[in-house]
């Protein structure tokens, strides 16, 4: 029952510190004198978009298998081994072929096993029942690749989104192959979706001039469609990349001087400039295709060697398309396409309505609980109410300290915490009443009341804590906010009821030494 001055001072000190931490939420500009950490409003309260994007595993696997199959061909050729019916299956993650003769099987497997692996145990090579040989990618290596792709993509996604002028975008990894993009204030995410849904891999290839190859492309030549079908049919293009789009240093949307149409101008770094100069010097008069994501944007004829390292693409763009393409070229290509698998967008008016609804509920709920405690428990009810206010302050303080995100369910969690928090005071007060009814002195009644109520208080809060930690771990989005505020609320409840309100009651008793308790 006795509380030292030090203990009293530290409990009140924590409450004051909490009050201080709450302050930044009510002010607009940072003050240098207090720690500046604010609660963030969730998208459901401030409006905005949430996009959950997934790296296309299939395309990653396909890209890797494509490289491996080229390596396989080279390795077999160098070892003077023959093969038939080489096939790539991206869904199963395999490359398979028939050896020229069964006798060469061992040598084939040895040649394939000697191929460089990106990670240890990336793939295994084996003979199948029908006599064919299969190279199988390990699922683990695809996951590793996906993780790396996500790491690279996050940086590129950030650059692309920053380029659009979005304010405070949040880009985070989720699991092995997912990225969460949160865009406060953007309630129509269509442009961002389009920007992120394009890998923007640009490369420059020579066009195969042999007219026969336009119908039957040989090994090393691919038929690629035009980006704009109005420009003509597919063209046979050499697979060999003469200049890579990743060698760009800058790109911008411009209006072409001659045609007056929108175009994208770009400049190469030194590697790109040299490569471009060499190719254009050697191939004057031939067509040179600019390929973006396996589609030809344009295929102009090289009039003269281009040595300046600058170029321009005119692909029938409008202003928006030219700006976005330039932005994507500047930000770099994504290692694999990202596809949206979940999107939620909330308009600003709905968000404002939700804040109002949450605040009104919180205010009314708080007042009703406060009134209940005073009507049913008198003086000790006031103490409980003081502790309740401190509880609210501390919850806001901890949320600010973590710079946590407050959602509408989070506000509901706060309100429920307040309703549940006074349970501890009710338990203590009811117990004191019973002890008084048994004829104990006020001091003995209060002591027994505190002692006996403590284990019940801890029991009931422990069960609630267990339930909500689970919800936080397995929940997503706004529900996590609910679980988080309740979890924090349980901790602050234990502090305010077991320490603060008890201390207030004990101090009152020590000060007045009453002969009867107001219960």
């Amino acid at each position: 029952m006795y509380y030292s001055r030090l203990k009293l001072a530290s409990v009140l000190g924590i409450c004051l510190l909490g009050l201080l931490l709450c302050l930044p939420n009510g002010m607009r500009k940072p003050l240098p004198s207090i720690p500046w950490r604010q609660i963030h409003l969730g998208l459901d309260l401030r409006g905005g978009s949430y996009l959950l994007m997934q790296v296309d595993l299939q395309s990653l696997t396909h890209d890797r298998l494509q490289t491996l199959s080229e390596n396989t061909r080279d390795a077999l050729l160098n070892a003077h081994l023959g093969y038939q019916n080489i096939a790539v299956d991206a869904t199963k993650g395999t490359i398979s072929f028939m050896p020229r003769s069964a006798a060469e099987t061992e040598a084939d497997i040895a040649a394939l096993n000697a191929l460089p692996r990106a990670v240890p145990n990336e793939f295994s090579v084996s003979k199948r029942e029908d006599g064919s040989i299969a190279l199988v990618l390990a699922p683990e290596s695809i996951r590793t690749r996906a993780r790396e792709a996500v790491t690279q993509s996050i940086e590129i996604v950030r650059r692309r989104i920053d380029g659009t002028g979005a304010v405070d975008p949040e880009i985070t990894r989720q699991g092995d192959d997912r990225i969460v993009v949160e865009l406060p204030g953007i309630s129509d995410p269509e442009r961002i979706k389009a920007l992120l849904g394009t890998t923007a891999k640009m490369s420059f290839h020579l066009v195969d001039a042999n007219p026969l190859h336009a119908t039957y492309p040989p090994q090393g030549v691919s038929l690629l469609p035009m980006a704009d079908p109005a420009e003509g049919g597919p063209l046979p293009v050499f697979d060999h990349v003469d200049v890579d789009g990743s060698d760009l240093t800058n790109a911008g949307a411009v209006i072409d001087q001659q045609s007056g149409k929108w175009a994208v101008s770009f400049s190469f770094d030194s590697t790109g400039t040299h490569a471009f100069a060499a190719v254009s010097q050697a191939n004057v008069g031939k067509r040179f295709a600019i390929v973006l994501d396996n589609k030809i944007i344009e295929a102009p004829v090289i009039m003269s060697p281009i040595t300046g390292g600058n170029g321009q693409i005119t692909g029938g763009f409008d202003a928006q398309k030219a700006t976005d393409l330039a932005l994507m070229l500047r930000a770099g290509a994504l290692p694999a396409p990202l596809s949206v698998i979940e999107q939620r967008s909330i308009g600003p008016s709905l968000g404002a309505d939700s804040i109002r609804a949450g605040m009104i509920s919180l205010g009314v709920g708080f007042i009703m609980v406060v009134a209940f405690m005073v009507l049913f428990y008198g003086r000790f009810g006031w103490y409980a109410d003081f502790a309740l206010l401190a509880n609210l302050v501390l919850m806001v303080a901890i949320l600010s300290l973590f710079e946590a995100t407050l959602t509408l369910p989070g506000m509901a969690g706060m309100l429920l915490t307040l309703g549940m928090a006074v349970d501890a005071n009710i338990l203590i007060n009811e117990r004191i009443r019973e002890e008084i009814a048994r004829g104990r002195t006020p001091l003995a009644a209060m002591q027994t009341g505190f002692e006996k109520a403590t284990s019940t208080i801890i029991d009931s809060n422990a069960t609630a804590l267990l339930a909500h930690v689970m919800l936080f771990v397995f929940g997503t989005g706004p529900v996590r906010g609910f679980a988080l505020t309740i979890t924090i609320g349980i901790v602050t409840t234990l502090f305010t009821t077991l320490l603060l309100s008890r201390m207030l009651m004990a101090r009152w008793y020590a000060r007045t030494r009453p002969t009867s308790l107001p219960v």
């Binding site: 959950l52 309630s187 129509d188 269509e190 979706k193 596809s339 949206v340 698998i341 979940e342 999107q343 939620r344 967008s345 909330i346 308009g347 008016s349 709905l350 939700s354 609804a357 509920s361 009314v364 709920g365 609980v369 405690m373 005073v374 009507l375 049913f376 003086r379 509408l408 369910p409 509901a412 309100l415 429920l416 307040l418 309703g419 549940m420 349970d423 009710i426 338990l427 009811e430 019973e434 009814a437 002692e451 006996k452 109520a453 403590t454 284990s455 019940t456 029991d459 069960t463 267990l466 339930a467 909500h468 689970m470 919800l471 397995f474 929940g475 997503t476 529900v479 679980a483 107001p518």
Partner: protein, 315 residues
């Protein structure tokens, strides 16, 4: 001001014979729970967007919402099978579509958004959500996992703190509470989504808490009154904790009520379910959990200070 309490629920010498209604309580509860199970299978829960997948677009039109016009405009853009519903004011419209393939779902939501905005100029899009089929399956799995694990942890905790008769009767009561809540969701048509999982978990947590308090008192009285028949002892324990039981359920009820009234579309379903759960959880402590304990513990619950795990001080 208000130095002394003005109100209280029951006088301190209250002795209501709750156990007299034990059979009635169990029968009513069993009937309600069986009815809820029937409702669960037919017609079943209305799954929310989180768990069903698909598209929901909420829009506010300048005048009263003209469903036919929106439907026609959408059909023109190749979007059929949309369902329309008004909510709140007459000019609010809610458009739903079921999940198609992963890419379709994400593409159609933009189409719906634009079509609605174009066909009815002045329309504001309040919300546009699209959840792919794989994500909704995953959310459902995680939601159920959270529910199952928290239930298991709550039970483990009671098991650890009390004798098995207590734990088992608490489990059965919680399951009965849970089924009734499901029945409530089917009857009211509230959508079952992640927020509802949170509500159910909170109800289970609250209900457990309520039982722990009554059981704590039973355990304490078992030590105190070694010869009192169990039925009288349980009655006494319920009466002694009645003010607390009613007090705490009132404060939680009062805290949830404003959410139900003004919490908006997102939270009112959550809050009404909470309110229902508080009433069910409180009454089940008295009318279900206590009789079950009586049936299971009669002649078996040990008496005396040294017995069982009952060593902690209790309220």
């Amino acid at each position: 001001m208000f130095g002394r309490p003005l109100l209280r629920f029951v006088r301190k010498d209250t002795h209501i014979n709750f156990m007299r209604g034990r059979f009635m309580g169990l029968i009513v509860s069993a009937v309600l729970s069986i009815a809820s199970l029937v409702l669960f299978f037919h017609p079943g829960l209305t799954l929310g967007l989180d768990f069903r997948g698909g598209i929901v677009v909420e829009a506010q039109t300048p005048g009263p919402a003209d469903f036919a016009k929106i439907r026609a405009a959408l059909a023109e853009h190749g979007v059929s099978h949309a369902s329309f519903q008004s909510f709140g004011a007459a000019n609010d419209v809610l458009i739903r579509l079921d999940a198609g393939s992963e890419q379709d779902t994400q593409a159609i939501v933009d189409k719906v958004r634009h079509t609605v905005a174009e066909s009815l100029p002045g329309t504001t899009i309040l919300r546009a959500d699209a959840v792919g089929a794989s994500v909704s399956a995953e959310l459902f799995r995680n939601g159920m996992l959270a529910l199952a694990l928290s239930l298991a942890m709550i039970l483990g905790y009671i098991w650890f703190r009390f004798e098995w008769e207590f734990a088992l009767s608490a489990v059965i009561t919680l399951i009965l509470d849970l089924t009734k809540t499901v029945g409530f969701l089917v009857l009211t048509g509230f959508e079952f989504d992640l927020v509802m999982v949170a509500a159910i978990l909170t109800i289970l947590g609250y209900s457990t808490n309520d039982k722990v308090v009554v059981y704590d008192r039973v355990r304490e009285n078992l030590r105190k009154y070694r010869t009192m028949p169990l039925i009288d002892l349980i009655n006494l324990s319920i009466n002694e904790t009645l003010n607390r039981t009613l007090g705490t359920s009132s404060t939680v009820f009062l805290a949830s009520l404003p959410l139900a009234l003004w919490g908006g579309a997102t939270l009112s379903g959550f809050a009404w379910t909470m309110l229902f759960g508080i009433v069910v959880g409180t009454s089940s402590s008295i009318f279900i959990a206590a009789p079950l304990l009586l049936f299971m513990g009669e002649g078996r619950l040990k008496r005396g200070a040294k017995s069982g795990k009952a060593t902690a001080p209790s309220a």
